[in-house]
């Protein structure tokens, strides 16, 4: 252990601000990166699920239209 007390640890021999700034910014940037990557992953899956639902709806609508058209021609 290089430091006698917590206050000495925080002071970092007078350079506390610079050391903690570096560590703080690094942790912040990396945390943001991890969070954005996770949320991107989740969003992509949601997006795909949404598209699937839309496709099913479109297909049903097209089939309905086709059925109606063939009914019309029979009349």
């Amino acid at each position: 252990m290089q430091f006698d007390s917590i206050s000495a640890f925080l002071a970092m021999g007078g350079y506390g601000f610079y050391v903690w700034l570096s560590y703080g910014v690094s942790i912040l940037v990396l945390a943001l990166l991890v969070l954005s990557s996770l949320s991107n992953h989740k969003k992509t899956k949601q997006h795909i699920a949404q598209r699937q639902k839309r496709e099913i709806k479109l297909r049903q609508a097209a089939e309905l239209q086709k059925a109606q058209a063939s009914a019309d021609t029979r009349l």
């Binding site: 598209r51 496709e55 297909r59």
Partner: protein, 223 residues
């Protein structure tokens, strides 16, 4: 998964096709336009690509011309993959897309001459060629003074001088009057009879004899 989204009504009897599409798959903006598409185009064929809007007709033509890469599959020109003989293939290719490729800063004649020169051709008489597309008297007019329809006709004029075997034409009849369409159709027939082939998309019905026109039908896919 249906691989039968394309059907060919007349199968070619020619053993040695000019162009062969093998397992073509095209994906645009996360949508499969067509999948595992197979067909052959032989000398003498006039092939019409059919299908609703968004079915991938233009994408198919661009892939055939070698402008776009398919997601999967290959195009063979005289049984060799396109990628291996780009220049030899382009020597035999005339592609006209949606955009006419006409520069506003050049005259109709200069545009025609440049486009032909790129393919190593000289216009015997630009005047005569331009008159085929109803542009007689516009030779010296700058393209900026001409209409969009006239731009299209300048680019179509190349057909009369072309020596390429394969014509790939995306909607060649837009902005062309009835007489012009007749003329073009006659030209297509003549080209096919001379051992060439024509691949085209069109919204209008072709008035060519049905037995001469092969059809490739693309269906609209939801996924």
């Amino acid at each position: 998964m249906s691989n039968l989204n394309a059907k060919i009504e007349a199968t070619s009897t020619n053993i040695n096709p000019l162009l062969r599409a093998c397992g073509l798959t095209c994906i645009r903006e996360e949508r499969v336009l067509f999948e595992a598409l197979n067909f052959t185009i032989a000398a003498g064929d006039i092939v019409q690509i059919e299908g609703p809007n968004g079915a991938g007709k233009t994408s198919l033509l661009r892939i055939l011309a070698g402008l776009s890469q398919p997601y999967d599959g290959n195009i063979y020109f005289q049984e060799t993959p396109l990628a291996q003989q780009r220049e030899a293939f382009h020597q035999e290719l005339l592609y006209l897309g949606h955009l006419p490729g006409v520069k506003d800063e050049m005259t109709a004649q200069e545009n025609l001459e440049f486009n032909l020169a790129l393919h190593g051709l000289h216009t015997g008489s630009a005047e005569k060629t331009l008159s085929e597309v109803n542009l007689l008297g516009f030779e010296d007019a700058f393209a900026s003074h001409l209409s969009a329809g006239q731009h299209r006709r300048i680019s179509l004029a190349r057909l009369w001088q072309s020596q390429a075997k394969i014509w790939i034409l995306d909607e060649p009849f837009t902005a062309i009057d009835k007489l012009g369409v007749k003329k073009l159709e006659a030209l297509f027939l003549q080209h096919a009879d001379n051992g060439g082939c024509v691949v085209l998309t069109t919204h209008q019905d072709l008035s060519l004899p049905a037995e001469r026109v092969k059809k490739v039908t693309l269906a609209y896919r939801f996924s």
